[in-house]
């Protein structure tokens, strides 16, 4: 199997994974609104990676999403970056992004998170979503490079 095909397979799996993940985030409040008790399991899965505080979450169907606004921004940003990836790099290059770019897009989320934790300011959910989304966009460029390199390395062993 050609390298581009293998990386394309990794790309497709990653895209499917993030779509399922985001789908579950929106599914949880829908299930709860319909009184389907499976919603507890779905919320429970996300509780491992998110505090799920209602005051920090967006609402649909009258109930909070499976994750908070910042986490939702990160995952939506990841999806956006993933969609943009083939247009920017194609699927034959596994080069990691420049460090300076990583620090630049990480600075807003680090500052915002630190300021909120220290009580310096209290940002709205929209701001949390935006800084999370900005950081999330760059993440697939790391994820695909690393997993792709691992897949290609296994073939050589």
């Amino acid at each position: 199997m050609r390298n581009t095909t293998k990386i394309g397979f990794v790309y497709a799996l990653t895209l499917a994974g993030i779509l399922i993940w985001l789908g579950a985030i929106f599914l949880a409040p829908y299930l709860q609104s319909r009184g389907i008790t499976f919603f507890r399991f779905v919320y429970g899965c996300f509780s491992t990676v998110c505090h799920q505080k209602p005051t920090r979450s967006f609402f649909i169907f009258g109930h909070p999403l499976g994750v908070c606004a910042r986490c939702l921004g990160i995952y939506m940003g990841f999806l956006a970056g993933l969609v943009f990836y083939p247009l920017n790099r194609g699927l034959s290059h596994l080069r990691l992004p420049d460090k300076r770019l990583f620090f630049a897009v990480s600075a807003p989320i680090v500052l915002d998170t630190a300021a909120n934790v220290l009580g310096i300011w209290n940002t709205s959910n929209a701001i949390r979503f935006a800084v999370g989304g900005l950081w999330g966009v760059i993440l697939p460029f790391y994820f695909l490079a690393g997993i792709g390199e691992l897949v290609l390395r296994r073939k050589k062993l």
């Binding site: 899965c45 005051t55 109930h63 997993i147």
Partner: protein, 174 residues
């Protein structure tokens, strides 16, 4: 590049312990998945510190995934005594806010009740498996980022001395 595989275990254990403990402590766990990614970055840094040559992003993915799994175990264990404390603290905050007539989100009582209830070993183990899978994916991402930030080295292997340049041929004396 030498054929020795890096030692993933120790850095992964340290990174996973850091991520698991910090993500289980009340107040600090508000950083959500960032602790897991941060712990994996630490694991990649420790792996790169001891490595003789530059790491690849695949090495970062491996050490990060292990770090995530260890972090899930530590987080699950740390979370047991803190869970009740977390909920009690948050409930007091929300009740105090409600006293001042602030508009409360409609689901805050459901959020509390979701975390309440007696401890069950079966649910604990099931939750641990779910957490390990999720933490492994996030950890792999963190490990790759860590290698990108800390894993590259200037050449660590000593170079053999270069041979002296050939002397220009001297023309024969007349």
């Amino acid at each position: 590049m030498n054929g020795q595989k890096p030692n993933y275990l120790t850095p992964a254990l340290i990174g996973g312990a850091i991520a698991g403990i910090l993500s289980g402590i009340p107040v600090l766990n508000c950083l959500c998945c960032l602790w897991i990614i941060g712990g994996a970055i630490v694991a990649a840094y420790l792996l790169g510190k001891d490595a003789q040559t530059s790491l690849t992003s695949g090495d970062g993915a491996i050490v990060g995934a292990f770090s995530g799994v260890f972090g899930a175990v530590v987080n699950s264990l740390v979370g047991i005594p803190f869970q009740a404390m977390n909920l009690a603290f948050a409930k007091r905050v929300f009740e105090r806010i409600a006293e001042y007539g602030q508009n409360m989100p409609s689901d805050w009582e459901t959020w509390f009740n979701r975390g309440a209830g007696p401890f069950s070993v079966a649910w604990f183990l099931f939750g641990l498996v779910i957490a390990a899978a999720i933490f492994a994916a996030l950890g792999a991402l963190g490990g790759i980022i860590g290698v990108a930030l800390f894993g590259k080295k200037t050449s660590g292997t000593p170079q053999a001395p270069l041979p002296p340049p050939p002397q220009p041929a001297t023309p024969p004396q007349p």
